[in-house]
Symmetry: D2
Subunit: 437 residues, 4 copies
C-alpha cells in the first residue's frame, strides 16, 4: 500500500507551545477539555477534498504544477480511488474527524450524465467502507454546479431551463451520496448563481428560479429521509461579477422572501466575509443572532487583494473573535470548521499540505483557549452588560417591551438634563483582548 504522507509516521502529535518540531501540534490537544468539552468536540475540524487533494496550483496566469502521487494513474477512476486512500491517510494522520466534498471532487465526470452518476456511486461505496474503517465522518457534501462550462450562465439561475434541470438532477445525486455517507449537512455555494452583466440579466426571474430549485431539494430530502442541515454559503462575487448570495443578510432576506427560512442555516467563510466588506466576526454574529450560524469555512483572505485567496487561517486575534461567537452560541451543532483553504501555488511539496493544516488547527486551538479564558474571566462580558444596562429598567425597559411611544418618550426627555456621552472604551477593550495569550 502506498504511503502518501511519509513524513508523519502515525499521527501528528501534540507537543506543546515550546516544541520546535514543525510537524507537531503546539496547541491542538484533541482530548483537552475546554469549557466542558474536548477540543475535538468543539472544533469539529474537517479537511476539504477539492483544494487539498484536487488542487493543482493553477491560477489565472499559469497552469497547474503539483505532481501529487495520488494523481498519476492514466485512468480517472483509479485516480479517484488513489485520492481516496491519500485522503483518509491524511485525515487519520492529522486526527481530524470530518471531511467535505463536491460530487466532482471525489468522482470524475463521465461522458454522459448517467456515467457521471455511476462514477459517483462507485466512489461513494468505497468511501463508505473507509469511513467505517477509520471512524472519519462526512461533515457535508455538495454538488459542483460551476466548473463545467455548461454552468457558465448559472446552475439554478441559468436562463436556460435545460441547464437548470440538469443541475437539479445533479444535486439529486449529490444529495443521495451525502445521505448514503451519513453527511451531517448539505451545502449550497452558488458560484455561478449571479450575473456577469446587469445588461443581459433578469434578476427577479433568476432569484425565483433559485427559490423553486431549493423548494424541490427540500421536498426531495423529505422524501428520502435526509435529515441533515441544509446550508447556504454566501459570497459576494467571483467568479460572477455579482452573486445573489452576497452576504449573510442578503441570504437571510432571500430565505425569508421565499419561505425557505426554516430549512436553511448558513455556512460562513472568512474570505467571503471580507470580500463582501465585512469582518469575519460580523458575518458570524449576523448569522448567530438570527439563529442561523450552521457551519464555518475556516480560511483567510488577503485584505489587499480583491479575490478569494483561500489561505489557511493564521490570525490569532481574528480567530479568537470567531471562537467567541461560536462559544457564545454553544458550539456549531451539526456544523464544523472546514478548511476551505489551499496551499499557495509555490508550496509545491506534498508535505506543505501538512504544514498548512497543522498551522490552521493550531491557530484555532490557541484561539479557543483564549476565547474560553475571556469568557471565564467575565471582564469583557461585564463591560458589555454595563453598556446596555439602561434598557433593563425605566424608559429603556418600556422601549424594549413596546410600551413606550414617541409622546411618552418626549415627555420623559423634557424632564431630563441633556444626556451625557459615555466612552465606548474601544482602546481599553482592545488592550484587554491583547492581554490574553
Amino acid at each position: 500500500m502506498t504511503i502518501y504522507f511519509p513524513s508523519v509516521e502515525n499521527q501528528v502529535a501534540y507537543e506543546g507551545a515550546q516544541s520546535k518540531n514543525p510537524l507537531a501540534y503546539k496547541y491542538y490537544d484533541a482530548d483537552r477539555v475546554v469549557g466542558g468539552k474536548t477540543m475535538k468536540e468543539i472544533l469539529r475540524f474537517s479537511v476539504c477534498y477539492w483544494h487539498t487533494f484536487k488542487g493543482t496550483g493553477i491560477d489565472p496566469f499559469g497552469w497547474g504544477e503539483y505532481h501529487r502521487p495520488w494523481d498519476r494513474s492514466q485512468d480517472p477512476m483509479q485516480r479517484a480511488f488513489h485520492t481516496l486512500e491519500a485522503a483518509f491517510e491524511l485525515f487519520q494522520k492529522l486526527g481530524v474527524p470530518y471531511y467535505c466534498f463536491h460530487d466532482r471532487d471525489i468522482a470524475p465526470e463521465g461522458a454522459t450524465f448517467k456515467e457521471s452518476c455511476d462514477n459517483l456511486e462507485k466512489v461513494v461505496a468505497r468511501a463508505k467502507e473507509m469511513q467505517t474503517a477509520t471512524g472519519v465522518k462526512l461533515l457535508w457534501g455538495t454538488a459542483n454546479l460551476f466548473s463545467n462550462p455548461r454552468y457558465t450562465h448559472g446552475g439554478a439561475s441559468n436562463p436556460d431551463a435545460h441547464i437548470h434541470a440538469y443541475g437539479a438532477a445533479q444535486v439529486k445525486h449529490a444529495l443521495d451520496a451525502t445521505y448514503e455517507l451519513g453527511g451531517e449537512n448539505y451545502v449550497f455555494w452558488g458560484g455561478r448563481e449571479g450575473y456577469d452583466t446587469w445588461l443581459n440579466t433578469n434578476m427577479k426571474h433568476e432569484r425565483e428560479q433559485i427559490a423553486r430549485f431549493f423548494h424541490m431539494v427540500i421536498d426531495y430530502a423529505k422524501r428520502i429521509g435526509f435529515t441533515g442541515q441544509f446550508l447556504i454559503e454566501p459570497k459576494p462575487k467571483e467568479p460572477t461579477k455579482h452573486q445573489y448570495d452576497f452576504d449573510s443578510a442578503t441570504v437571510l432576506d432571500f430565505l425569508r422572501e421565499f419561505d425557505l427560512i426554516d430549512h436553511f442555516k448558513l455556512n460562513i467563510e472568512a474570505n467571503h466575509a471580507t470580500l463582501a466588506g465585512h469582518t469575519f466576526e460580523h458575518e458570524l454574529t449576523v448569522c448567530s443572532d438570527a439563529g442561523k450560524l450552521g457551519s464555518i469555512d475556516a480560511n483567510r483572505g488577503d485584505y489587499l487583494l480583491g479575490w478569494d485567496t483561500d489561505q489557511f487561517p493564521n490570525d490569532l486575534a481574528e480567530i479568537t473573535r470567531a471562537m467567541l461567537v461560536v462559544l457564545k452560541q454553544g458550539g456549531l451543532g451539526s456544523g464544523g470548521l472546514n478548511f476551505d483553504a489551499k496551499v499557495r501555488r509555490g508550496s509545491v511539496d506534498t508535505e506543505d499540505i501538512l504544514h498548512a493544516h497543522i498551522g490552521g488547527m493550531d491557530i484555532f486551538a490557541h484561539a479557543l483557549l483564549i476565547a474560553q479564558q475571556i469568557l471565564d474571566d467575565g471582564e469583557w462580558d461585564a463591560i458589555l452588560k454595563k453598556r446596555y444596562a439602561s434598557y433593563q429598567t425605566g424608559v429603556g425597559q418600556e422601549i424594549m417591551n413596546g410600551t413606550a411611544t414617541l409622546e411618552s418618550l418626549e415627555a420623559w426627555v423634557l424632564q431630563q438634563e441633556e444626556p451625557v456621552v459615555t466612552s465606548g472604551q474601544q482602546e481599553l477593550i482592545e488592550n484587554l483582548f491583547n492581554s490574553y495569550h
Copy 2:
C-alpha cells in the same frame, strides 16, 4: 430683497444640446413629453438643503471656507431665514419642483430640546408660506441623529436608553414638521446606527432597539394622520465602521424580520451603492424587484476613493441604466430624484452651485431620453425575453409553477442531449447601449 444667485436673472432656460451657455439646460426641457409624461413629472428633481445651503467645504483635513451670502448674520435664526430665501430663489431659478431637509438644516439647534423644537416650528411656518407662494413642495423631511455628539454611539441604536428616547422625541418633531409642510415622504438614514468596533457592541440588542423605534414612529404617524411614504436609505459604513443598513438586501431582511416590511420603501443613493460593492443599477433593481424602490438620492461617488464623495452625477451610461429601472417600474411614485450631492471643496463660488445642479439635471434628462428610446426600440427587451424563453413552456414552465421535482427533472434530462451553452452576448449588448446618444 437680497439676490443670492445673480448670474441667473429669472430661470435657467432650455437652449438645446448645441448651446454653449454654461447657465442653460442642454437637455432638461421641463415640459417635453417623454413616454407620455413631461420630464418634470418623471424626474421629480429635488434640491437638498444640507449640502447646497449648509455645506461649508469642510473635510477631515481642513475647515470650511465658503462665504455664503445667506450665512452672514450673527443670529442663527436670521441665518436660517436668509437661507430659506436663498433656497427658494434657487429652487425657482432652477425650476425644480421639490426640496428635502433634515430638521437641523433648516433650523438651528437650541440650548435645550425645547428651544430646538421652537426654532424648528418657526422656520417651518415660514417655509410653508414660501411653499405656497412658489408652488415648490417638500419631497421629504428627516431628523439629523448623527451630527450632534450626543449621537456618537447611535440614535435608535444607542446603548444609552436616554439618547434613544431623545432621538425618538426629535423624530416626533421632524415628522410633525414634514406633515405640516405636506412632505410626500419621510426618510431614515442611520448614519450612526452601526458600530465602531464589534468589541463593544451587542448587535442583536441594537437591531431590536431600532425595530422598536420604527414601530413607535409608524404608530405615531397613524395617530397624526401622516400618510407619506417612509423610506430607509442604506449605506454600508461611514461615519461608523459598519452601519446596520448596509445595502438594500440588508434593509429588506431587517424589515421582514421585524414585521416592518409593509411600512417602508427604500431611498437608494448611488454613492452608497458603490461603497457597498454594488452598482447603482443593482441596488435600484433589488428594490424595484421587491416593489420597494421609493426614491433616489442622485449623486455619484468616486470608484477609487473609499468614502462618500457625494459628487453630482455625470456618468451618462450609469444614469441611463438607472432611468431604465425607474421607467420599467412606471416611475418613482411619491419619490423623486434628490441631489444629495455637494460641490467640491475647491468650488468656492456660489455660482458653482448653479453649474452643479444644471449638470446633474441635464445628465438625467439626457439619460431619460436615451432610456425611453431603448424601451421604445424594443431591441434590448427582445434580447432579454428570448434569453429566458425556455421557462415559458415545458420543463421550464413546470419549474416556475412548482410542479417539477428533482425526480421529474432527472427523468427529463436523461432523455436529452447535453445542453448547449448560448452566448450571453455581453459585448453585443454593450455596443447596442453605446449606439444610443
Copy 3:
C-alpha cells in the same frame, strides 16, 4: 481554405453613427483625417493574440469552453498554423494594422527548450510571410515568463538562478522573433516578478536580479541591431500578491535607480491602472510628463472587482481623457492601442470576438473625435492656462526659475493681503466635457 469569421465577408465597413448594423463601424473611419492625420495613423490599433485566439474562457472556478474552429487539430503545430490563419483573417476583416504576441501564444512549448525554440522559429517564418502578404505588422512581441510552472517564483526575479537563466534564454529567442518580424517594440510584463509573501522574499536581491536581466537584454539588442522600443507594463498585483512594477511611478523609480531610464518607455494598461488605485488618465499623464508614454493596452476593468477583468473598453468619457493625453504628446510614436482584452466567459460564439473589437475600435474613434474637438475649441486649454498664469510673472516666475528663496518669498508675502481662493471650477469643466458628443 477555412473561413473562420464568416459573418463578415470582406471587411467591417464604416456606416456612420446612425447605422443599426452590429457588424459595422459607427465611428471608426480609417481614412478620416482628424487633426492632420488619419484615424488609422493616430489610433494604430492592434489585436492581441493571447486573449483573442488562445483564450478559452477559463476562470478560477471553471474550465475553458470555447470551441474555436482553429483549435481543433490534435497536432499542436497544426493548431498554431490554423490559428495564424484565423488571426490574419481577423486582422484584415477588422482592418487593424498591428498585432501583438507572447512567444508561447503563437508557437507551442516543446518537450525541451530546444524544441520550443524550433517551434517558435517555424511559426515566425510563416507569420513573416503572412505579414508580407497582408501588410499587417507586429506592434510588439514578448516572452511568456509566467504561465509555465517553472516560473512560479518569478522569471528574472526567481530565487533560483537556473530559472533566471532559463528566462534569459527564452527572452533571447522572443527578441530574435520580434526582430525577425520587424516588431516596432518589445514589451516586458512581469507577471511573476513580485512576491507571494514578504516572509520568504529578499526584495532587494530580486530587484537587482531584474536590473541585471534588463541590462543583458539591452546589450543583446544592441548586438543584434534591434532598434525597437523596449517597454515595461506596470501592474500592481495578480498573479503575485505584489508585483515590483506596481505602477508607472514605481517603474520609473526602478529605471532611474538602475540606470535603465534611457532604454525604456512604458506600456500603460487601463485595467492595471485602476487596480493600482489610479485612473487610466493619471497613469498616462505620469508617463507622458516624463516623456515615457510608449504604448497602451486598451481595455477596461470593473471598478467593483479586484482582479484584472480585461474587458474591452466602452467608457466614452474615460477614453476621451486618454486620447487627450495621447494627442497632447503628439501621438504614440512607435506604440499603438493594443486590445489586451477578452470576451467574457459567457460570450462563447466566435462572432462575439467581432462585436468586442468593433465596439472597442468605435469607442476610441468616437473619443478621438471628441478629444480633437476639445483641443480645437481651446476652451479647456484656456481654463488651464489661466489657472497657472501667476507663475508666468513676478514671484511666480522667480519660483519657477529658481531665483526665489524662502526669505524673498516671506518678504513679498508680508507686503500682500491674505490670498483669495479661486474656484477650481470642477463642476463647470465636467459640464463642458459632457457637452461634447
Copy 4:
C-alpha cells in the same frame, strides 16, 4: 498647577505580562536591553500633538465633542500654554522621550501672517523651557499647509503663486521653530499636494513647483545651519483625490527626478501604506532597501475602510514584521516611532488617551522582543539565505556581477536538465512566525 491626567500619579509602570492593571505596561520596560540596546533607545516613541491634544472627535458627519480640560480658556494663547502643560505631563507620565507637532497645533493662527509667526515664537520659547526641564525632545516639526482654506488647492503645488509663496514663508518659520527646539528631523506631508480632478490640473507644472519648493527649503536649512533629517511622508489620497506622494516608490522617483534624493528620507505611516495597496512591511522594506527609511508614523488603518482611520497599532504580527525591518537596518537613526493615531470619536474620556498610548507602546515592545528572538534564533534568516544561495556561485554569480550575457546563459541552459521548482514554504514560515510569543 492643574493635573490633567490624574489617574496616573507619577509614571505608568512596567508590571509584566500577567498584570491586570490597565494603566501599567505589560511589555514596555524602558531600560530592558534587547539586542544590545534598551527598549527606550530602540523604540524612540513620540507622542503626536495634533490628534492627542488638539483632536476633537470631529468626523465628516458630526462635530467635535471632547471637552479637554486644557482647552477651556477663552483665549487661544492661554489654551496653547495649557495644552503645552498637559502635553509635557503626558510625555512624562508615559515616559516617552519625544514628541512631534505642526506649527498650527502648538500655536494658534493669528489674524495676519505676522501674528501667526509671533504666536508660534512665543509658544516655542515656552516649549524650549519645558524640554529643558523634562528632558523630553522634539522628534520632528512640520508646517500645516492643509487645514486653512487658503491651501484648498495645494501648498507648494497651488496653481496660485501667491499661496505657494505663503506656504514657503510658513515653512520658513516652522523650520526655524524646529531648529530652535533641537528637532532631530523635519517632515513634509503633502496633504493638499495633489489634485481633486485631473480635469483642472497640470500635473507636470505642479510637480515642478513642489521640486522648486523643496530646493528652497534645503538651501535655507543650510543657511541657518539646520542639520536635522528631512523626511517626506507618502500618502495616496485623502483629502485630495490623488496625492503626488502616493507611496514610497513614487516619492523616491520624484526625489531622483528632481535631484533631491540626497536630501530626504521617508517617514512611513502604516495606515498610508495600506491605503496605497501595500502592507506596512512592504513600504518599510522599499525604503530600507533604498537606504531611505527615516522614521515611522506608528498607527493602523482598518482594511475594510477606505479612509485614514489613524487608529493606535494593535496587531502583534504586523508590528513584529515592521520591527524586523527596523532591527535589520540597525534602528531608525534620528527617526522614531511617532503615534500618529487618535482615540476613537466615542472614546470621550481623557483617560482613553492613556489606554491608547499604553496599548500602542506595549504592542511595539512585545513585537520588539519577538523580532529580536526571530533574529537571534536565525531559523528564518537561514531559510532566506538558502533560498537565494544559487546566486552565490556559478551562473548565479555571473548574473549578479554582470558578466553573464543572454548568449552565455542560453548556452548554459542547453546543458542543464529542466529546472525543478522548489517549494516557497509559505505555510511553514507562517507557522514558524506564529510559534513566537
